[in-house]
């Protein structure tokens, strides 16, 4: 029966006609579009009727108390978790719910996990080289040569991440903050359209935080960046738009000042001094 109902919905493109392998279409503004998304784990609604729109080139911060569904939301976008209901679109052409993790990654959604994982035995330069978008099958990798173009791209990312002087160092000897930047750099090598960054400043010093804020604000514009963060000071220093999640749905959205004066937000964050 469901086949027939699909054909009767005349306002929609048939699923089998919707293109999958084609450039991301952002002519209408949003690069990421979540509508009415709900996920339950054993009856617990981790995400409850979530609606979220990220514009192309935007830097968005997402805050919320523990258990608000921030990580689950990232999992849904990257294809790790399937929602029970709702739709998730990348641009206005790609239905992320019909794609698997590697496809979503190659479409240009890069995700940075909380704990930095870099290849410790390799140099900073080599880490970036491996992350570079290229033919990654065995024989092309064996015969791969580093062209001037590749070097330029690696140099560009070294510059952006502030690791230029450390390019020959083994990644294992870098500080925690430098490893975080290197990992963001590795994501940038793949030229993503959308970066999802999970708690980038956890365990960082003041100076490292400032450096990270510069890095992320510098990226916005070329890439869309979504940052999930607990540290309010950090969020205040980078955010233009802040989304507050609470119990799986959006509680408030707007500038940092507007959000922090919102009585509902104050109530949720009571005692946390937002």
């Amino acid at each position: 029966m469901s086949i027939f109902t699909e054909f009767t919905e005349r306002d929609r493109v048939f699923d089998f006609l919707a293109p999958t392998a084609s450039p991301v279409d952002v002519r209408h503004g949003p690069i990421l579009y979540l509508e009415d998304v709900t996920v339950s784990f054993d009856g617990f609604r981790a995400i409850d009727d979530l609606n979220l729109t990220i514009d192309d080139g935007e830097l968005r911060c997402i805050i919320g108390p523990n258990g608000a569904g921030k990580t689950t939301m990232m999992d849904i976008i990257t294809g790790k978790t399937r929602p029970d209901t709702g739709s998730v679109w990348f641009g206005s052409r790609h239905n992320l719910l019909r794609m698997n993790e590697p496809d979503i990654a190659s479409l240009g959604i890069g995700r940075k996990f909380q704990k930095p994982t870099v290849f410790e035995a390799l140099s900073v330069f080599e880490n970036l080289e491996l992350a570079m978008a290229a033919d990654k099958r065995v024989f092309p990798t064996l015969t791969a040569r580093l062209t001037g173009e590749h070097r330029d791209r690696i140099g560009e990312v070294l510059e952006m991440t502030g690791l230029k002087d450390l390019w020959r160092r083994e990644a294992g000897v870098l500080s925690h903050g430098q490893k975080q930047w290197l990992e963001i750099g590795m994501l940038l090598m793949q030229r993503p359209r959308l970066l999802l960054v999970d708690e980038p400043v956890a365990g960082m010093t003041e100076q490292e935080m400032e450096r990270t804020a510069e890095l992320l604000t510098g990226l916005a514009g070329q890439q869309s960046v979504v940052v999930v963060e607990h540290d309010m000071g950090f969020v205040r220093s980078i955010a233009r738009t802040v989304t507050v999640l609470h119990q799986g749905s959006v509680l408030a959205e707007g500038s940092m000042d507007a959000v922090s004066n919102d009585p509902k937000v104050v109530e949720v964050y009571l005692g946390e001094g937002i």
Binding site: S106, V118, V138, T141, G155, R168
Partner: protein, 380 residues
Amino acid sequence: MTDSNRMWLTRPLTEGSTRLFLGLLAAAMTAVVLMHLVFPEGHALHMSIYTVTLMGKYLCYALLAVAVDLVWGYLGILSLGHGAFFAVGGYAMGMYLMRQIGTRGEYGHPVLPDFMVFLNWDQLPWYWHGFDMAWFAFLMVLLAPAALAFVFGYLAFRSRVTGVYLSIMTQALTFALMLAFYRNEMGFGGNNGFTDFKDLLGFSLLTDGTRLGLFIATGVALAIGYVLCRAIVTSKLGRVSVACRDAEARTRFLGYRVERVQLFIFVVSAMLAGVAGALYVPQAGIINPNQFSPIFSIEIVLWVALGGRATLYGAVIGALVVNYAKSVFTGIMPEAWLFALGGLFVFVTVFLPKGIAGLLPKKKRPDDDDSDTTAQEATA
């Protein structure tokens, strides 16, 4: 810096360390050949053909150790069954040598090797056909271990078996093959294996000239194997394999098919081990199922650990040092050898965690020895 724009296979030849290795190998081999040829028998510096052949066997072990270091040092796969690939390569060579005996065997049968006549077989098993031709046998020296490694590796890596479980499976593989090759019905000579070889490519194996030739061929094979491994580890694929070793999940996340990288390097390593085995058999004069014994495979890993993992030249040093020590020890007090080996291993683990190679002046990272010009180039 190694010139990253060179073709991958010739890239190691521009490296100082590889040139040094090849130079030392060539010098040592020249010395051995000269000591045998120039000094007359009885002279203090004369080297008997027995010793030359012994050196040739050490070089086979060195090539085998390089093969193990490629998968263990650079890919993080601790294979405790590489002796199996060595032995399969050796058996392929042995089959060729058996067919070369012809009517000169005890029973004088023109086609069947002696042990088949003894078992009252009246025709060759199908898998023995073709081994009278040298090109076919030499091809099998490469293909038989490769096929074994491919099937084993395909199943293991596809199922993402890694770490200690994989090590145990490789151990089981070589043990199972040992039991199989002990059976007479397999058609590989049972527990006696193959021996009494007469000639190779028309040269008698009993003459000094052939033995010297085999020694030189082994050295050349070691040089080629070393350069090939070096070419792989200095390529981008080599860096990917180090990445697989250290953070497999992360490598997969970057878009590399980890199981294919593992399979490729495992198969290359098995082929090198097969070549080492094939060169070993005519010099040792015998191949039997003991070559499959798990102890032998563990010993190979000890050579690499003693010499220094993930350096390639460390594997060569380890294989030479341990086997030389073994020859000396088993000559003086054979029963003490295993204690000496165990003691040596404990000593190296405690005092030289990087093996003997760790004692050598620290080799610079490939990127270190070029000046800041490339730094500017890279970041321009």
